[in-house]
C-alpha cells in the first residue's frame, strides 16, 4: 500500500495526464457523432476480427455435429427431388384455353427394353393403360421420332420401333413439303429410307426430314433425320433418299408418348368421307 501510494505520488503527473486524456476521449467519443461512428467502426473491426479467429477454431470442434446435420438435410432434400418420384407419378395435365384447344398431350416414359439389331425391333416402356397410354400413340424424344405404341398392358406398353420394317411413317422434306414414306431398310440402325419423292425434286445432303402430319399418329413437324444420300434409280419416277436418323436408338432412355386428343374426331370424319 505504501509502495502504491509512493508510486502514485511519484508519477502523479503522468497518471493525472492519462486520467485527463481518457476523460477527454470519453467525452469526445460520447458527444461527437463523427468520432463516435469512427470509434464504433474500428472497435467493431477489432472485435469482429477476434470473433472470426475464435470461431475458426471452434468450428472444428463442432465439425462432427455439423456433418451430421448436413447429411440429414441432404437426405431430406434428396427425398424431395423429382427423381425420387418419377416412376409412380404421372405428370401429364390438361388445361383449358378458349383460343387454343389442346390437341396433343405428352407423357414421359422410360424405356425398359430396347433392341436395334433385329429386323423387327420393339421397345418396351414402363407406362401402360393406368398412365393413360393407348394404342397407336406416337413415341418421340426431343431429337425425333422413336416409334408407335403397338400394344398396352396395365403398367407397360410395347412400341414398334422406327427400326422395324413394318412401320411406315409419313414424312416430308421440311424445305418444300414434298412427302413420302419412311421405313427402315434393316441394314444400319442409324439410317432409314425415304421413298416416293418425285424425281424432279432437288434434294441436297443435309436437308431435314420431318413428319408430315398426314397420319393421325404423329404431330406435324417432328424431326426424323437429315438427308444422307440420294439414291436415284434410273427409269423410275421416284427417287429414294437415305436418311440419317436424328435419334440414336442405342442411347435413348427417356421418351415422350404423344396422345392426340382429336384423333377420334378425325378418324370418324375420314371414315365418313370414304363411305
Amino acid at each position: 500500500m505504501k509502495n502504491l501510494l509512493h508510486f502514485i505520488v511519484r508519477f502523479h503527473f503522468t497518471i493525472l495526464f492519462i486520467v485527463f486524456e481518457i476523460f477527454c476521449l470519453l467525452l469526445l467519443v460520447n458527444y461527437n457523432n463523427y468520432q463516435k461512428s469512427q470509434f464504433l467502426n474500428s472497435s467493431n473491426a477489432i472485435s469482429g476480427g477476434i470473433y472470426q479467429k475464435v470461431s475458426s477454431v471452434t468450428d472444428y470442434l463442432s465439425l462432427a455435429r455439423t456433418n451430421e446435420e448436413l447429411n440429414r438435410e441432404n437426405v431430406r432434400l434428396r427425398n424431395l427431388l423429382k427423381s425420387s418420384y418419377s416412376l409412380s407419378a404421372d405428370s401429364s395435365f390438361t388445361f383449358t384455353d378458349t383460343l387454343y384447344k389442346q390437341q396433343y398431350i405428352y407423357r414421359t416414359a422410360k424405356i425398359i427394353n430396347n433392341s436395334v439389331n433385329k429386323q423387327l425391333n420393339y421397345i418396351t416402356l414402363n407406362k401402360g393403360k393406368v398412365h393413360g397410354i393407348e394404342r397407336e400413340m406416337a413415341v418421340v424424344t426431343d431429337n425425333g421420332v422413336v416409334g408407335v405404341v403397338k400394344s398396352v398392358s396395365e403398367n407397360f406398353s410395347s412400341v414398334i420401333s422406327l427400326l422395324n420394317n413394318r412401320l411406315r411413317v409419313s414424312a416430308k422434306l421440311k424445305g418444300n413439303n414434298y412427302h413420302g414414306s419412311l421405313t427402315w431398310d434393316g441394314v444400319d440402325y442409324r439410317k432409314a429410307l425415304l421413298k416416293d419423292i418425285p424425281f424432279h425434286v432437288n434434294i441436297a445432303k443435309g436437308d431435314t426430314i420431318v413428319t408430315s402430319g398426314f397420319s393421325a399418329i404423329f404431330p406435324e413437324g417432328v424431326q426424323l433425320g437429315v438427308v444422307d444420300e440420294v439414291l436415284s434409280s434410273s427409269g423410275s419416277n421416284f427417287q429414294d433418299v437415305k436418311v440419317l436418323l436424328s435419334n440414336d436408338f442405342k442411347s435413348i432412355s427417356y421418351v415422350k408418348v404423344v396422345g392426340d386428343l382429336m384423333k377420334e374426331e378425325r378418324l370418324q370424319l375420314e371414315e365418313e368421307a370414304e363411305e
Binding site: E21, L27, N32
Partner: protein, 167 residues
C-alpha cells in the same frame, strides 16, 4: 499586477479572440490557427504540474464548448500541458530559470521562444488534427493541415509577443 489575475485575464482574452475571430478563419480548410494555446505557453515556471494539466484541460474545454467539439481541444491541450515540463527541461538554460519569470520572449529572447513555441505548437496541432480526423487514412491531408496551421499559429503567437511585451 498579480500574476494570477494576469493569467485569468489572459485566459479570457485568448479564448474570446479564438472563438470570436480565429475560428472564423477558414482558408481552404487547411489553415486553422489556434492562438489560444499561448496561454499554456506563458504559464509561469513555478506552476505545479497537476495545476498545469487542470488549467490546460479547462482551456481546451472552453474552446470545445464554443466550437461544439467536446473533448477534442481538451485532449490536445492536456497533451500539450503534459509535455511542457519536459520541453522546458530540455531547453533549460545553463543557470536554470529565474524565479518570477515566465517563458516568453521578454525574458528569454526570440530564438529560445521560437524553439519552445514551435515544439509545443507542433505537438498540440498534431494531436488535435489526428484526433479530429480520428483515423490515419488520408494522413497526408492531416499532415498538410498540421503544417499550415502550425505556421499561422506560430506567426500569430510571435507577433502578439512582440506587440504586447516590448521591452
Amino acid at each position: 499586477m498579480n500574476i494570477i489575475l494576469k493569467n485569468i485575464i489572459r485566459f479570457v482574452v485568448l479564448v474570446l479572440i479564438q472563438v470570436a475571430i480565429l475560428n472564423n478563419i477558414q482558408v481552404s480548410g487547411f489553415v486553422n490557427p489556434y492562438m489560444y494555446i499561448l496561454f499554456i505557453l506563458l504559464l509561469p515556471f513555478e506552476i505545479p504540474n497537476w495545476l498545469l494539466l487542470v488549467l490546460s484541460f479547462f482551456l481546451g474545454f472552453s474552446i470545445d464548448i464554443f466550437s461544439g467539439t467536446v473533448g477534442m481541444h481538451a485532449s490536445a491541450c492536456v497533451f500539450m500541458g503534459y509535455i511542457r515540463p519536459y520541453i522546458l527541461n530540455y531547453l533549460s538554460l545553463r543557470d536554470g530559470y529565474e524565479v518570477g519569470t515566465y517563458p516568453g520572449i521578454a525574458h528569454f529572447g526570440f530564438a529560445w521562444f521560437f524553439k519552445y513555441a514551435l515544439t509545443l505548437i507542433v505537438a498540440h496541432h498534431t494531436f488535435l488534427f489526428v484526433i479530429e480526423a480520428f483515423s490515419f487514412a488520408n494522413f497526408s491531408e492531416t499532415l498538410m493541415r498540421i503544417i499550415f496551421s502550425t505556421f499561422f499559429t506560430l506567426t500569430l503567437i510571435i507577433t502578439s509577443q512582440f506587440l504586447m511585451f516590448k521591452k
